[in-house]
Each structure stands twice: as C-alpha cells, then as structure tokens.
Symmetry: C2
C-alpha cells in the first residue's frame, strides 16, 4: 500500500498490480470518460477506483449505491502518463467499450492479494414460495398436484404446471412482490398458448397482492388470484424442518 504516491509511482503500481492479478484499490482525484453502448462524462472529483483480480472495474463516488462507471470481468488495461496525468484505460470487446480514468492526483493506492474462496448462498423469496408450494400445493388450492416446474411453453417458462381435482390443467405463476399488469399478461400468454393446444386451462397468479390495474385485467381475462405471502411460506417450510437457517434470521 502506498500513501500519496506521485503519478510515476502510481503508474508502476498499477502496471505491476494488474499484471500480477492483484486487486487494486486506488483513491484519487480523477475524471472519467466512457464510450460503448452509451457514452458518459464525469469531471474531476475524488473517487475510489477498484480493479479486481479478474479484470473487473468498479468506480465509486463518495455517495450513492451504484458505481458511477464500471467494466466487467475480463477487461483489459493500459496505463500511461500523458500531459502530467496518469491515465488508466479499461477495454472490453463485444460489445466494444472503453473507460478512461484520468488521475490528477492519487490519495492512496493498494495492490492487494485477497483470498476469498467462500461460496455465496442466496435464498430468494420466489425460491421460498415455490418450494413451499411444491411441499404443500394446498396453500394455493386443495387437491392441486404439481406436474412440472419451469415448463417451457412457447414464448416463455411457466413456474408450475399442475392438475386440479377435475384433472384440468392449472398454470401457477409466482410473484414475490405485489403483482402488476405485466405479471397478469405473462400468465395470460401461457394460458392462451396451452389453451390453443385444445385443453381446458386455468391460470392462477400467486402473490402477496395485486395492483388495481392487474386486478381488472385478471378478472377480464378470467384468470385467478391467490394471496400468498413469503412469510407464510417460510412458516410452512419451517414446519417441515427444511430451512432452520432462514428462521434464525426472522425476527
């Protein structure tokens, strides 16, 4: 780690760090230009520039959640000094994109050999809903039998294909948040495509709630809605002793 390096020192550190596949964290006053699918300009200011070991680049301003500019893993780098500024360029192909960072000064620069082998486990709400439904289909409708998950139907993927007590086909679509018109349309498309193959098909949208517009559309299309919250699903999975980890974090 180097504090207040001059631009030549910074250049060397960048070059060495990149070729040694270090993760480099540099903070300094810089401007940023991007060109590719779009085009952006950001005049001089203090930012944190991070080049990761896999070639990913993220540049953060001192505020805001998202990086102001970035480049994906596998990007290629060039660094040089021109007109008294340190310039770092990040390239990618397909699509061809380029970021040019022009440093006026560097506050500090840290080329780091970081070790991180842990595997990230994410449990999403929709996963939870689907699992709970497969475990206990009656939370949506009594007598429902799940035929298949993620079934391909023409233009998209149906969450769950089921049979009801009368042997009719039921398409079940899950939304973890309040469902909007788009969700109803998506379900409607699936139902229409399956109906066109001659079967009796019902469509059920499962979500914690519906927008007003979605409710109207749903009714006019004679589709159905079943209210189901993620919380309820977690309780169901807990009761079968499947996800004690999740419940640890519920308060």
């Amino acid at each position: 780690m180097i504090e207040k390096p001059n631009l030549e020192e910074s250049l060397e550190a960048f070059k060495l760090g990149i070729s040694n596949r270090r993760t480099i964290i540099a903070v300094g006053e810089c401007r940023i230009d991007y060109f590719g699918r779009g085009h952006s300009e950001l005049d001089y200011g203090d930012r944190a520039v991070v080049i990761k070991s896999d070639g990913a680049l993220v540049i953060h301003r001192p505020f805001g959640l998202e990086p102001v500019n970035w480049q994906p893993p596998g990007s290629m780098y060039r660094a040089y000094i021109k007109s008294g500024s340190l310039i770092v360029e990040a390239y990618r192909r397909s699509p061809e994109e380029k970021i040019i960072v022009t440093f006026k000064r560097v506050l500090f620069l840290a080329p780091l050999g970081l070790r991180d082998d842990a595997s990230f486990r994410l449990y999403t709400s929709e996963e939870i809903m689907k699992k709970a439904f497969i475990k206990r289909p009656e939370i949506v409708e009594k007598g429902l039998r799940v035929i298949s998950e993620e079934k391909k139907v023409g233009s998209g993927l149906v969450d769950c294909l089921c049979l009801d007590l009368n042997g009719g086909i039921v398409i079940v679509e899950f939304k973890k948040n309040r469902a909007g018109v788009d969700a109803v349309e998506q379900l409607s498309n699936y139902v229409r495509e399956l109906r066109s193959s001659g079967s009796e098909v019902r469509g059920v949208l499962v979500a914690p709630s519906l927008t007003k517009e979605a409710y109207g559309k749903l009714n006019s299309l004679k589709l159905e809605f079943k209210r189901l919250s993620v919380k309820k699903c977690i309780e169901i999975l807990e009761s079968t002793g499947e996800t004690s980890k999740i419940s640890d974090f519920i308060s």
Copy 2:
C-alpha cells in the same frame, strides 16, 4: 488511514468515521450475513467494505462486477466487538433489512474525506435514436410528423406520437437493442388503447433488429418494423452539428 489495525482500533475508526460522515474503505477477512427481502450467507474471506458518506454500503469480493452485498444510502450503522470479532451492522427500514459484517481481521482501514461535486452526464442510445428521429422523422417514414413525445396512453408511455401523410396516427416505439416479444406487446398495448378511442392507428417498432418470436407476433398483430441502428442515428445527429462530443468517441 490505518494499516493492520487491531480490532479495537478498527472499531474506533469505524465509529468516528461514520459519525463524521467520512467515506470508509476497509479491507479485511470477514463473513457477511444479510436478511431482508431475501437472505444470504457468505463465510469468511477477504473483501473490501465501503461505507459511503451518505450511508450507502457496498461490499466487494476480489472478483466479479457486482457487490456481493450492499445497503442503500441512508442506512444506519452499529459497530461493536463481540467474541473477539469486530461486527459492523447496517440497517435500513422499509423494507426492513440488515447486513451483519463480522471481521476476523482488518488489513487496512481508511476513513476519507472525499470531495466530488462534478455532475455525471450519461448519453444513452435510446436518447440518441429519439433525438435523431425528431430531427429527421423520414428515417422511419417519409412525411411523418411528430405530434408529441413521451405521451401518456392508458397504461404506459408512448415514445413518439406521429401523423402520417394520410393524417393517420402512428405510434413509434424505439428499442436500442434487438427487440423481443415484450417490445411488440408493449407497442401492441398502446395501439390497442388508442384504437379503442376510435382512431385509425398504426404502430411502428424501430430497432436495429427483431427476434424471430417478435417478428411473428408483430406480423400477426399487423404492426410494422423499421430497421434503424444507433450508428445511423449518430451520423444523422452529427450531420446537423449537434453532438460533436459523441463523434469524438466513435472509432
């Protein structure tokens, strides 16, 4: 900036830095737990933890473009030592979410007073297409006259409302990338809503290309497609001397 601080030093630096609204960059071995809309676990490894001056939190692994965990601006923090570990918690309300970072050791910690007042300018491809079209509507169809942009139509916003040579209404929808079924459906919705008010309405999807599915749907709905690339639009804007900045970056 502190190198290899012990946990007590780190705790003090975190507390002071957060209450002084510094941007804090900390690198160290930590585990991360998240609970809120979803739930995630990540066992110990080296990561860069950034707390920004506005309370935003981003945690980056040494690889990958996206942060592994994060919390938006305005989050609240608690830091303490427990069982020989430094724990930093980030809270938000609505939705209620929490991130718990447990440090085993800290490689370095930098509380920074960063100044960044510059304004970010982003030029998107869709902007460019729309501007070029308004400048020269004939790139889509000869004789077209633009009536309004971003016109609200029932459920959404139409990119451009136009009149053709026969005085008929034409809805023009732009997509900067190859357009899919969703784009056709969106256009179809707008056309349907305007037709329901009794007018003759045509719909034109303007994009560099169409997916096969989209092409079929477009035809069956009797909508139209006009091929137009962003590159062409840039040339058009250049020819009117509007965007020399953009052209500087084209190669």
